[in-house]
């Protein structure tokens, strides 16, 4: 009952919804970057919504199946092919398909996005580490001893591969025009000219982006108060501005303590969208107040529920 890794891809890890309650010793949430796509993935293959999936970034893995009747799915904006009886077919995302011994799946790349997901009915055979299946590379915590999957790994599957119905859903990963933010605790550290730059000009996602954070390029943000604050806790979605004036967005694997002023925080409802922006994407920020952020979150959450109910 296993799947052999022929090519691991750039950054392929097991993730679930994340790991809570360890910020105070330096362990962030981790977990699937794009929560909505993660939930859809598990629902499509009939697994528990918090079951572990394989998350890949940009280039995905190539896998060879050593078992019959494996029901699986790929989600995200992903180009992939399936090899069955020496014939190669183009795969469809958000549509379950079955694989048999010696079949291969080649997840070529995410398309104009960062992350995609692969799951199988019944799930991978893994042990929870600190209450979660999520991999945190930095502290080497999680399944696979906290590492990315590598070539020649044999990914073990659960034995109770229950028969499930084929499922599919028509889901489009929409682009958003603005990333909405709430004022950060150090918003007033920045000049009014910088406030204007932050909200009116475009920022570009640089190559320095990974599961820990996303560095942006654009108008320099000028700190008129103090370039360092006393180191304090960080959260995902917080936008820190180091002395070079270029914003860094903290993402799911962020360091838990930081000493740079926080100009803003991304609203929860836009988190799944921002993490999917690949390098060179353009971002515009829009400031809203917390009441609106909560309202938008309720709508987003309801929408997610509706999508899951349709599956």
């Amino acid at each position: 009952m296993s799947i052999k890794v022929i090519r691991p891809g750039l950054n392929t890890t097991f993730q679930d919804r994340g790991r809570s309650n360890f910020y105070h010793i330096g362990i962030p949430f981790s977990g699937a970057m794009d929560t909505r796509n993660f939930l859809i993935t598990n629902k499509l293959v009939g697994n528990d919504l918090n079951d572990a999936v394989l998350e890949f970034a940009l280039q995905g893995p190539k896998l060879k199946i050593n078992e019959n009747n494996i029901n699986c799915v790929v989600t995200g904006n992903v180009d992939f092919t399936v090899k069955k009886n020496s014939k190669i077919y183009k795969g469809d995302c958000y549509k379950t398909f079955s694989l048999n011994t010696d079949d291969e799946i080649d997840i070529i790349s995410t398309n104009n996005s960062m992350y995609g997901y692969f799951a199988i009915s019944g799930g991978f055979k893994l042990e929870k580490k600190w209450n979660s299946y999520s991999t945190h590379l930095k502290s080497k915590l999680g399944p696979n001893n906290g590492n990315k999957i590598i070539e020649h790994d044999n990914l073990q599957l659960n034995r109770n591969q229950k028969p499930v119905n084929k499922k599919e859903i028509n889901y489009v990963n929409s682009k958003i025009e603005f990333i909405r933010v709430i004022k950060g605790t150090n918003f007033d550290y920045f000049s009014s000219k910088s406030h204007k730059s932050f909200l009116d000009s475009q920022y570009q996602v640089t190559n320095l982006t990974d599961r820990m954070g996303m560095r942006l390029e654009g108008d320099k943000l000028e700190n008129i108060k103090s370039e360092n604050i006393k180191s304090e806790g960080l959260i995902k979605g917080a936008i820190q501005v180091p002395p070079d004036g270029k914003p860094i967005i903290m993402l799911s694997d962020h360091g838990t303590i930081g000493g740079y002023p926080k100009i803003a925080v991304i609203i929860s409802a836009d988190y799944d969208k921002i993490v999917q922006l690949p390098p060179l994407s353009k971002i515009k920020f829009k400031m809203i107040d917390i009441k609106d952020a909560e309202k938008i979150f309720r709508l987003y959450s309801m929408e997610t529920k509706n999508i899951l109910d349709q599956i």
Partner: protein, 224 residues
């Protein structure tokens, strides 16, 4: 006491205990942190205590910032004898192989090696917080004559176990990682152990740390 509570984004609150960094203020932060941890308030997902702040994240499906701020205002601290006297004795090897920045520290502080280490080894340091990477303790305050800034250009790789100083603080790199602290030695002791789920961190906020010098031979022996 908490001076001010505000929201940080839509899924966290930010408790500010004032601008002062001192043991006294940090004790208050830790009392709130421990009380909240024991209370297990529904919806709270993480607690991040630091020198003089406490950040609390929550699940927006369960609770919102307004409700949580009210709960924090009404919070009664656990009535226990708060113990801030745990002392950890940590070996440090100052062999030149490990003391990567001792020349720089000496130049910047106008002290010779012996004087620098006397300052480190003669003072009990207090652990204000742990984090950034897993288990990294932020210790202080060091004697004023060894205060100096971070490296102008941070190292891409600081070896695991490195002991570094910056401003009035001292820390220990629990993993090999990038960093800009002035490295003056290395400890062979495991400060963070992921296989000890119940008690993974050797030095906790509120503990004190006393370094003692060991030879390279002793270092290698402990490392085994």
């Amino acid at each position: 006491m908490i001076k001010n509570i505000s929201n940080l984004g839509d899924a966290a609150i930010y408790c500010d205990f004032g601008s002062e960094v001192s043991k006294k203020v940090n004790h208050e932060v830790i009392k709130y942190f421990k009380t909240l941890k024991n209370k297990n308030i529904k919806g709270i997902t993480n607690l991040a205590p630091s020198y003089n702040k406490l950040i609390i994240t929550f699940d927006l499906e369960i609770i919102n910032y307004k409700e949580l701020i009210e709960k924090i205002h009404d919070l009664k601290l656990d009535e226990t004898d708060w113990n801030f006297s745990n002392k950890k004795i940590i070996p440090i090897c100052i062999d030149e192989e490990f003391a990567l920045d001792i020349d720089r520290v000496s130049k910047k502080t106008n002290l010779n090696f012996k004087e620098i280490y006397k300052n480190i080894l003669s003072k009990e340091l207090y652990c204000y917080m742990t984090g950034f990477v897993a288990g990294m303790p932020f210790l202080g305050d060091t004697n004023k004559n060894i205060w100096l800034k971070r490296l102008e250009t941070p190292r891409v790789k600081v070896p695991k176990g490195s002991v570094g100083i910056t401003e009035q603080f001292c820390n220990i790199y629990t993993y090999e990682s990038p960093g800009g602290w002035n490295i003056i030695g290395n400890t062979p002791v495991k400060i963070f152990n992921k296989n000890e789920e119940e008690n993974p961190v050797l030095i906790k906020p509120g503990d004190s740390v006393q370094f003692y010098e060991i030879t390279k031979k002793e270092f290698n022996k402990i490392k085994e």
